[in-house]
Symmetry: C2
Subunit: 276 residues, 2 copies
């Protein structure tokens, strides 16, 4: 039985795996977190594309039938790189399903998106939402905000800390002023901070968890094509020593996490003397 391959820059993608375990419990998952090179969201498009190709190759070596990009940054800047590398294996990213859901959901046609610097700079959500809006006959306006401090706050577990509230108020002020009625959590770390983000935005704003929406897409995709008995022997791979991943991972996964294995790799610098 071939597995669903899921990858992320590190630990955030476990919030997507959490949704998959609920949505398609009868599928085996191979997860790869690139914990030795995390984060991706503050790095360049070129570097994220290179890393994403390598991550995809690792999943392919584990005989996957479907690849889920459980990272909004990769989905925003390296979807094509992953598809090329995947050589015909289907690829589901975080953006397309989420864009369809948000465009359908908005009443006032004002949608906010928060994510990493790389995701926001890519404008991938804007393009998708405006295009999707056109097909629905809606003239959608999109307001974006990079929230780089949300990732370390989520990893520290400061979900209710006053400092987190101040950071959230600072980042979200502009989106509130623009009166968005729908806010896309465009980074797989952010579901950890859902409570605080909802408080700051107000109860009337609908938050969309990109991982949850993508898990529905996965269910549609594989429905009828797989065994229907729950599996539990999932495989978790990381590129750094698993210690810390194992500790923080349970909070992201919402349950005990299987023992992660470190992948063996080698980096060869191609460096000669630089011109001075």
């Amino acid at each position: 039985m071939r597995s669903i391959g899921v990858f992320d820059s590190g630990i955030g993608g476990l919030t997507v795996v959490k949704e998959l375990l609920d949505t398609v419990p009868y599928e085996r998952i191979v997860y790869f977190g690139d914990t030795a090179r995390v984060p991706y969201g503050s790095k360049s498009v070129e570097t994220v594309q290179r890393y994403s190709r390598e991550d995809t190759e690792l999943l392919l070596a584990n005989d996957v039938k479907l690849i889920v990009i459980a990272c909004n940054t990769v989905s925003a800047v390296a979807l094509e790189a992953v598809k090329e590398t995947a050589q015909g294996i289907p690829v589901i990213g975080m953006i397309e399903p989420c864009v369809r859901e948000a465009a359908r959901s908005t009443k006032n046609n004002r949608i906010g998106i928060i994510g990493t610097e790389a995701t926001v700079a890519s404008k991938a959500y804007e393009r998708g939402l405006i295009e999707e809006g056109k097909q629905l006959g809606k003239q959608i306006e999109v307001f974006s905000q990079a929230c780089p401090l949300f990732v370390p706050l989520a990893e520290e577990g400061w979900t209710d800390h006053e400092a987190t509230r101040l950071v959230a108020e600072e980042y979200l002020r502009g989106l509130k002023e623009e009166q968005v009625d729908t806010l896309i959590l465009g980074c797989t770390h952010y579901p950890i901070l859902t409570g605080m983000i909802q408080q700051v935005m107000g109860e009337d704003v609908r938050l969309i968890n990109s991982g949850a929406v993508a898990a529905q897409e996965v269910r549609h995709f594989i429905d009828g094509r797989s065994a229907k008995s729950p599996v539990t022997d999932h495989l978790v791979l990381v590129s750094d020593v698993p210690r810390k991943f194992q500790q923080v991972g349970a909070r992201f996964l919402g349950r005990a996490i299987p023992d992660a294995k470190q992948v063996q790799w080698k980096e060869a610098w191609v460096i000669t003397r630089q011109a001075i």
Copy 2:
């Protein structure tokens, strides 16, 4: 004329370069920031050692006469790995000079140290301070605190933000209660937050900037052994695309930064199918 090689996981080491430019303006500097794999401080000892060896090889390929480890994490967990790789080229880390200065400086023999998770977990500062204290006939007590949010706050430039104050109060509370009279800024990012840390700790606590102390060590080391006319053609190398480094770097360096060049490298994954 051979250069002084300086490396860090990314941008923080520029606060050390800033001190070197003031202290030994007649030395050419080759700086390497591993921006494609930053940060090191939340990664494992094994991974940081591997990266540090590769970083050292890169500097050696650029004909350096001295290596300065402008990263407390590397100094704490990979000093020996760097020395082995350097094959006889002298290596100056952040910890030894700082430990001597702090042990001499303390009046009440209570010293605080803040740094990354990896630096604090290593206990390298504790061991050094207690040993140094013995030689001075002082019974020194050391109190350590990891401050992982300080790095992204410094990079965001939120030096005076109320959220930064709350984070600093949370992290530094224990050290204040222990009434340390000396606090080591054990991460090269932290000098950016000196103002806030001093406010929270109170004016009576002496903050020690590990980079500034190490720069004095460099001056002693090379004194009399180098040309005495200022040089300006320093070389800055990074592993990611330099765009963001160039933007944020000027704030860390305290002046305009030379154009950074991206090093060419290649990573080869040694991955076969993992056992499921």
